[in-house]
């Protein structure tokens, strides 16, 4: 069992080559360290630039228990500030999103106000601060920006700790998967649209995230939803096949399909499932859009963009993309046994509105709190959270297709069903948990 001194060596021992310790999912102490270290040292997805299209637009978001303001300043630059008044810590903005009334942010409590770059602008009773230490201390400096900020093709990412890898070093060769998604637009631009679905799941966030690239579970987990969909298709023979059934029925593919669809891992926990094909490959009826895309990007790139529709891409640890339908899931850990999952969708600017409708339909059917597909997933994650407490076995098996040589090559092709897709997440977990820790 874990002692009170969780240093880098003990944490690293929890992740073995082919299995991980159950305390990764159960320990409150590890969760607290994760918030500070793992989510401090890695790059988290905050939101999309289209949510703050105009100067003065903002949204608020919580990463690793820290409230952040994401705003667009007068010059059109995106800035991310800690949402904590430099005076007494009140949140400056508590709305989910909105537009500022002037070129400053004012605290509703004692009226301290800040420029959009966070600098302290004014505060009442100024003479009372003469000959005090205010100006020389943290509070005099105003609102702290996040340590790292990078906007990649309108996807906004931040890193909370000053230590940790640079953006491109961190995501590396998985970034072209964002390009693939954005280039589905002939003008290379996506817009968040249609609202957001929010689920709270009573499980550790890693149980959810490792499932994103788990292609072995649909056969057994989703049996009830698939059989019911098959029964409706058989008994009522709808013609044409409704979009909804077209989106649910492929969950009934066999193990061989999922194995053959291919996977790929990248350094730092990122991965793709469905490198060759996926349940999303068959979406058709694109019409004029195909020509528009060829005219914009050239035939070769248009073909690439349309043909590659992986099941999921994981940008560890907070984001899962589906290029087609254009949907993302955002993973927000709340407590060791509580996770919020959000589903966001994109309008493909310059593309047919049908692409958005397809994304909205998919999100509703698969990621809604009322989804009959998700119910069996979420039930099982919550069941794992309870089951893991039981019995003498303290380990979770990740042995499928394990090969010690996989460590030689951090970027690696796999079958669609290899548990390397998960082992790779936990190797990154151990790395970013411990990278800023002193030796014991």
């Amino acid at each position: 069992m874990i002692s009170n001194e969780l240093g880098p060596r003990r944490i690293a021992e929890l992740v073995q080559g082919d299995r991980v310790h159950k305390n990764l999912y159960l320990s409150e102490e590890l969760f607290a360290i994760e918030q500070r270290e793992l989510f401090g040292n890695t790059w988290s997805f905050l939101g999309h630039a289209s949510q703050i299209a105009q100067s003065g637009d903002f949204f608020t978001v919580e990463i690793a228990g820290q409230s952040l303001i994401v705003l667009r300043d007068e010059a059109g630059e995106i800035r991310v500030l800690h949402n904590r008044c430099a005076h007494k810590g009140a949140q400056l903005l508590t709305a989910e999103s909105g537009r500022l009334k002037g070129r400053f942010v004012r605290c509703p409590y004692h009226a301290w106000s800040y420029r959009l770059d966070g600098a302290l602008l004014s505060y009442p009773l100024r003479s009372g601060y003469e000959n005090t230490g205010l100006k020389a201390c943290e509070s005099g400096r105003g609102l702290a920006p996040v340590a790292g900020l990078h906007v990649y093709r309108d996807f906004i990412f931040a890193r909370l700790n000053p230590g940790g890898p640079a953006f491109h070093e961190y995501f590396g060769d998985v970034l072209p998967m964002i390009d693939l998604m954005v280039d589905r637009s002939p003008v290379g631009r996506l817009e968040v649209a249609g609202g957001v679905l929010r689920n709270v799941v009573h499980c550790n966030w890693k149980l959810y995230l490792e499932n994103v690239n788990d292609s072995v579970h649909p056969v057994s987990t989703h049996e009830s939803a698939v059989r019911a969909a098959q029964a409706v298709a058989r008994d009522h023979q709808p013609d044409p096949m409704p979009l909804a059934l077209e989106q649910i029925l492929p969950f009934g593919e066999k193990y061989e399909f999922f194995e053959g669809m291919g996977g790929k891992v990248f350094p730092n926990g990122h991965s793709i499932s469905g490198t060759r094909f996926s349940v999303h490959s068959g979406y058709g009826n694109l019409g004029q859009y195909v020509q528009d895309l060829q005219a914009a990007h050239g035939e070769e790139r248009a073909r690439q963009v349309l043909e590659q529709a992986p099941q999921n891409t994981v940008l560890y640890p907070s984001l899962a993309l589906k290029g087609s339908p254009q949907t993302i899931r955002v993973i927000r850990p709340i407590a060791v046994d509580r996770t919020v999952i959000e589903a966001w969708n994109f309008r493909t600017v310059g593309g047919p509105e049908m692409l958005l409708d397809r994304a909205l339909s998919y999100s509703r059917l698969i990621f809604s709190p009322m989804s009959v597909v998700a119910h069996d997933d979420l039930h099982l994650f919550e069941s794992q959270q309870k089951g893991l407490r039981s019995g003498p076995n303290e380990w979770v098996s990740l042995h499928r297709e394990h090969d010690p040589r996989e460590l030689d090559d951090p970027t690696r092709e796999t079958s669609g069903t290899s548990e390397l897709l998960m082992r790779n997440q936990y190797r990154a977990w151990a790395k970013f948990m411990t990278m800023n820790m002193k030796d014991e």
């Binding site: 409704p242 009322m370 039930h379």
Partner: protein
């Protein structure tokens, strides 16, 4: 007379669900019936907006088929539900008395094992005359907290 028949239908709809009589419940809907849980009260039909659920008769059948199959993992243990309705209020009727729209405040409890989920809001029922009877053309469920973080909702608020 028609208004009284419609009010009966709205109450009956809730108690058929509470008793798990799904096949009878389905028969209350018109062939073009729709069960809709939008993300926001201001959402209009046909908007490109997300919904928590938006079910035509095929999708309702799918849901019921799954619940009846005994294979749904998330229904072990099974969920049960209780609707509590306020008096339905007529808010619109068309000139030839063939379509009526009612608004009904509700609370809804869904229980599974030791967990109880409580949801609140109001329904909008659009009911259409079909000979002597009325059928549900639309049951719209406006939750007060549809955009909040929600746990699994497995049955039918």
């Amino acid at each position: 007379m028609s208004v009284a028949a419609c009010v009966d239908l709205i109450y009956r709809e809730a108690f058929l669900l509470d008793d798990g009589r799904y096949e009878e419940w389905l028969k209350l809907f018109a062939a073009t019936g729709r069960y809709w849980v939008p993300l926001s009260k201001s959402q209009d039909e046909g908007d490109s907006q997300l919904s928590i659920a938006d079910e035509d008769m095929n999708l309702l059948r799918l849901r019921i088929e799954r619940l009846a199959s005994g294979r749904a993992h998330s229904q072990q243990p099974p969920s049960s539900m209780q609707h509590v309705l306020q008096q339905p209020m007529l808010i619109e009727q068309d000139a030839d008395a063939s379509e009526y729209t009612f608004r009904t405040a509700f609370t809804y409890a869904e229980c599974r094992g030791d967990d109880v989920l409580a949801l609140h809001g109001h329904y909008v029922h659009r009911l259409v005359r079909d000979g002597e009877q009325f059928h549900i053309r639309l049951k719209r469920v406006n939750l007060v907290n549809a955009a909040s973080r929600l746990p699994m909702i497995q049955l039918f608020p």
